[in-house]
């Protein structure tokens, strides 16, 4: 079980010496086992939203709740094991696939030789059943690397998955297969997913709900199909028409 809630979250950052609300009074709830697709122009604060959930950054005011508990009261190490994150670039360690996959459990002192079955399971899950775990991660294509990065996160058995434009460095075919993978992961493990994408098409393919954020403010939050049928706001219509960049 894992429900995420943002309660009046504001994040202030100094940019070129001026204080700036990167997130401005954001409130939104993400129900357990659903995928929230987050869209908005570049610089809107999408990445910042995700980074507040696993405490790579801290909110200036307001609260982010995980199952009703303020994340700022949870030990960050514990929190990040429960809340996995996948970035735009795979960011694999310059090690073997096996060592990348067992990194999380090894931090907790788990003996990697006890993890062989688990490694096979996550590699199957990300559609890389034939990959030899002894290979060096650097030899893989970017698409394969991104799958391994997702698998590496799954090794921690997270309850929440934060995905920050995981498809934007990939070609269309590879992107599609990653999107399908995200849906599979959600239905198999019942994980709650926050999925940031600059592609409306990608958002629509994976999302249950859609959040539009512009200049740090929540503009719309609705059922994904409802948004695509007819946004409730002027900014929403503009965004759907591709007029906001």
């Amino acid at each position: 079980m894992a429900r995420i809630e943002f309660l009046s979250v504001t994040k202030t950052r100094s940019i070129d010496g001026k204080m700036y609300n990167v997130l401005d009074d954001v409130s939104v709830a993400i129900e357990e086992g659903t995928i929230l697709a987050i869209g908005g122009p570049s610089g809107a604060g999408k990445s910042t939203m995700l980074r507040l959930v696993n405490r790579l950054e801290s909110a200036t005011s307001g609260n982010v709740l995980l199952d009703g508990v303020d994340v700022s009261t949870i030990d960050p190490i514990e929190l990040r094991r429960k809340v996995g994150m996948v970035f735009q670039l795979p960011s694999l360690f310059p090690l073997t696939i096996q060592e990348n996959l067992t990194y999380g459990p090894r931090l907790r002192g788990v003996d990697p030789s006890s993890l062989e079955a688990k490694v096979r399971e996550v590699l199957d899950m990300v559609d890389l059943p034939d990959l030899s775990p002894g290979r060096s991660a650097g030899e893989l294509s970017v698409g394969q690397q991104q799958r391994v990065a997702i698998a590496r996160t799954l090794m921690n058995e997270p309850e929440v998955l934060l995905m920050d434009e995981p498809t934007s460095a990939l070609d269309p075919t590879t992107s599609k297969s990653i999107l399908k993978l995200v849906c599979d992961i959600k239905s198999k493990y019942g994980i709650t997913v926050l999925f940031v994408s600059h592609s409306l098409e990608h958002s629509r393919l994976v999302g249950d709900r859609f959040l539009l954020i512009v200049d740090g403010k929540v503009i719309e939050e609705s059922d994904i199909e409802a948004f695509f049928r007819g946004p409730q706001t002027e900014l929403g219509r503009k965004f759907l028409a591709g007029e906001l960049k």
Binding site: L56, G84, M85, S91, R108
Partner: protein, 263 residues
């Protein structure tokens, strides 16, 4: 054994060396004449001043004068190491100060107290040149280690954040960069172990020989010196990389972006 004492008149002839360097600069229009002149004067003033200070220390043989001198040398070493950093986050002075102090003090104490058994321990004739050599090398090692660590964390930020996001502590997340920083700090003292005596005769050994020491005695001293430098550099840079984690991360294992800079 007596050695040839240098008079100021004879030293005046040595000024011709500077003049000849200036001639090269003039001939090729390097524009370095002024720097050479200023450098020569500064060297004269600085060395003469330190000469009188040391003379004073040697005559008075008071432990607290020696201690004050060591404190000034330590402060200068720390200031220099700080100045060599391209980004200067809050707390850096403390990090470098503690590291250089601990690395140098430990090594100096072993050399003075256990290896040479100098009596009294504060005898400036031993303590000042040995501590000076240790401090200088600790300073360089500390500066190298910290610069390298910061620039590696900056370049490999995606990897560091991926590790943090998997539940690594800040120290676990930067362990690969810590190892590289330590290596780059320790390599110069290791390569000097490799070439000492082949490529150059170190200044301390040359000085001892001129002052009348037997070459074999001077060699033993020099060996102690290169060994102690290797240890001082290793201890200091290890302290630096461990303390530096607090410069670049909050206690909650978040990267402090502003402490990293752009390169």
């Amino acid at each position: 054994m007596e050695y040839i004492s240098l008079s100021y008149t004879s030293l005046g002839i040595a000024v011709l060396f500077i003049v000849s360097a200036m001639a090269v600069s003039f001939r090729y229009r390097l524009g370095l004449e002024k720097d050479l002149a200023v450098g020569a004067v500064r060297a004269f003033v600085q060395l003469t001043a330190i000469g009188y200070v040391l003379q004073l220390l040697f005559v008075s043989e008071k432990w607290y004068y020696v201690a004050i001198m060591l404190a000034i040398m330590l402060a200068a070493a720390v200031k220099n190491a700080v100045a060599r950093q391209s980004v200067q986050p809050k707390g850096m002075f403390t990090t470098l100060g503690i590291s250089i102090f601990v690395g140098s003090a430990l090594t100096t104490a072993v050399v003075i107290g256990i290896i040479l058994r100098v009596k009294p321990w504060y005898s400036p004739r031993y303590l000042i040149p040995l501590a000076g050599s240790i401090l200088g090398n600790s300073m360089t090692g500390a500066a190298l280690a910290l610069n390298r660590l910061r620039s590696d964390i900056t370049h490999r930020k995606p990897e560091v954040e991926a590790a943090l996001a998997l539940g690594a502590t800040s120290r676990q997340a930067v362990m690969p960069m810590i190892r590289d920083a330590l290596k780059s700090a320790m390599l110069p003292s290791i390569s000097s172990l490799m070439v000492v005596g082949i490529v150059h005769l170190p200044g301390m050994m040359a000085g001892q020989i001129i002052a009348g020491a037997y070459p074999v005695d001077a060699v033993k001293y020099q060996l102690m010196v290169v060994y102690m430098i290797a240890a001082a550099v290793a201890i200091t840079s290890m302290m630096v990389v461990y303390l530096a984690t607090n410069l670049f991360f909050t206690p909650d294992h978040m990267l402090k972006i502003e402490a990293l800079g752009s390169t």
